[in-house]
């Protein structure tokens, strides 16, 4: 692990899910980044990006919520975001601020600072990709997984030229000795907020995803998103289930951190028996 002095500071927007219901994934990713040489400095007093609800029923509010968060980003360092949905909301606002003069005037008057044209919003996957040769060989040998990106791979036409991270989870986990298996559902949506309001719509979606993972013979599903993780756990009604991990949790296991047992006791499907069977429990 690098010395304190060698760490590079990056500002960090965790978002509501990682800050609360998925704090185990958050702790894992903060530690993984530290191991890779980055200190994540949480954005002071950040607010919710508006999730799906703000843009659904009030586009102006959605813009103001994300613009407040962007106004808090310190100059001279990138802003790291791990949640695919927050990333999308923040990037869409950033693009609007770059292209819409009225929007950037509103920003300037409201937050008493100009739009930072140099701010780089960095997705966690971009950082991991850059540091991919630092991951330990063979640390996860024997683990067979299916990668689940959810809707992270899709974006509105305005973001068509963004980087695509499809394949990154396979690339890094393969390096760590795990084996990715082919399956059909890596880019299927988990149902997001309909999980609360319309479980009858989400159940067949989730069951189809989990069934496909079971059929593939995988030991676990690896997700890129904390909300996908939760939905796959709470809305699956199949008898046979598979453990689900946030990508960052498997990376923490690969680095053989003295993993906090409480991370996995917060999973609704207990992954510990599978990890023990595979000889991966530290």
């Amino acid at each position: 692990m690098p010395d304190q002095q060698e760490l590079t500071d990056i500002s960090y927007f965790p978002g509501c899910s990682l800050a609360t219901s998925a704090k185990e994934s958050n702790q894992a990713l903060v530690r993984v980044c530290r191991n890779l040489g980055y200190r994540l400095v949480e954005l002071k007093d950040w607010n919710c990006c508006g999730s799906s609800s703000a843009h659904s029923i009030d586009s102006d509010l959605a813009f103001r919520l994300t613009s407040r968060t962007l106004s808090l980003a310190p100059e001279g360092m990138p802003l790291l975001v791990a949640c695919p949905s927050c990333m999308l909301n923040l990037r869409q606002t950033q693009i609007r601020l770059e292209t819409d003069a009225a929007a950037s005037d509103d920003f300037g008057q409201r937050w008493q600072r100009p739009v930072d044209g140099n701010l780089k919003i960095l997705h966690l996957f971009e950082l991991l990709d850059k540091e991919s040769d630092q991951f330990p060989d063979a640390a996860l040998s024997g683990l067979r997984f299916v990668p689940y990106y959810g809707c992270m791979l899709a974006g509105p036409p305005s973001l068509r030229n963004e980087k695509s991270y499809y394949g990154l989870m396979q690339k890094i986990l393969k390096r760590c000795g795990a084996e990715p298996l082919p399956w059909n559902e890596s880019a299927k949506c988990c149902g997001t907020f309909l999980s609360v309001s319309s479980p009858e719509v989400v159940e067949p979606m989730v069951n189809r995803i989990v069934q496909s993972a079971v059929d593939s013979g995988a030991d676990c599903i690896v997700t890129a998103c904390a909300m996908c993780h939760l939905n796959l756990e709470i809305r699956c009604t199949l008898d046979t289930k598979v453990p689900i991990f946030h990508f960052s949790e498997l990376l923490a296991l690969a680095f053989k951190f003295d993993v906090d047992r409480s991370w996995f006791s917060r999973h609704l499907i207990d992954p510990v028996p599978m990890l023990k069977k595979k000889g991966l429990w530290p």
């Binding site: 509501c16 800050a19 609360t20 219901s21 007093d45 950040w46 607010n47 919710c48 508006g50 999730s51 799906s52 609800s53 703000a54 843009h55 659904s56 029923i57 009030d58 586009s59 102006d60 509010l61 103001r64 919520l65 407040r68 999308l88 509103d106 008057q109 409201r110 959810g150 809707c151 791979l153 899709a154 974006g155 509105p156 036409p157 305005s158 068509r160 880019a187 299927k188 949506c189 149902g191 997001t192 907020f193 309909l194 609360v196 309001s197 319309s198 479980p199 719509v201 067949p204 979606m205 939760l230 709470i234 006791s265 917060r266 999973h267 609704l268």
Partner: protein, 189 residues
């Protein structure tokens, strides 16, 4: 052939609402009229199994000027903005932005909302944001259930999440909620 009465003729001819289509274009910042009805969106849409018209069907309604049918459809509420449709769309239409526009017009015009539960959920998320600046999942779920007068469904899931400490009892909140309060009004002060 018997001549139709003028009253009947009037009813038989459907007048497309062109202004409505233009309003959707203005709000969404994109022109749905490019749609070729290739159905790539419907094929990819993860919630099309629960929809009445599916994404291309909604666009067809707009192309033909069927305002009421589009605004009162469940589809505009079931869309979760996962962008799978626009990713697959050969004309790169921002279907998610179009759905945002339709939802907001439906609210403003006070039409019959066919999925009031979903709208209630969105209101509860925004209420939580107004109070704390962040979402507090437990409170959103409880208030949503109260609004829906639905006290028993999902009890098991809720309890499981509580015992696994997936739901925090106290909200994560920002230091100055007044700042967020201001964001809920258009004015700058």
């Amino acid at each position: 052939m018997k001549k139709m009465s003028s009253e009947k003729t009037k009813r038989a001819i459907f007048k497309p609402d062109v202004a409505f289509g233009n309003e959707v274009v203005r709000r969404s910042g994109d022109n749905f009229r490019r749609c070729l009805q290739c159905l790539c969106c419907a094929a990819g849409c993860p919630v099309s199994h629960a929809m009445k018209y599916r994404p291309n069907g909604i666009i067809r309604l707009l192309q033909l000027g069927y305002k009421k049918e589009a605004l009162e459809s469940p589809d505009i509420w079931l869309c979760v903005s996962c962008h799978t449709c626009s990713d697959a769309c050969p004309m790169a239409i921002d279907i998610s932005a179009m759905m945002d526009a339709l939802r907001q017009i439906a609210i403003e015009e006070g039409v019959q909302i066919s999925e009031p539960g979903i709208l209630n959920f969105h209101h509860e998320v925004l209420n939580s944001l107004r109070r704390y600046g962040r979402t507090h999942k437990l409170e959103i779920m409880m208030r949503y259930k109260l609004r829906q007068r639905d006290f028993f469904s999902d009890m098991e899931v809720g309890l499981k999440m509580l015992t696994k400490r997936k739901l925090d009892l106290k909200p994560s909140r920002i230091e100055d909620p007044d700042q967020i309060q201001k964001l809920f009004s258009k004015s700058l002060t």
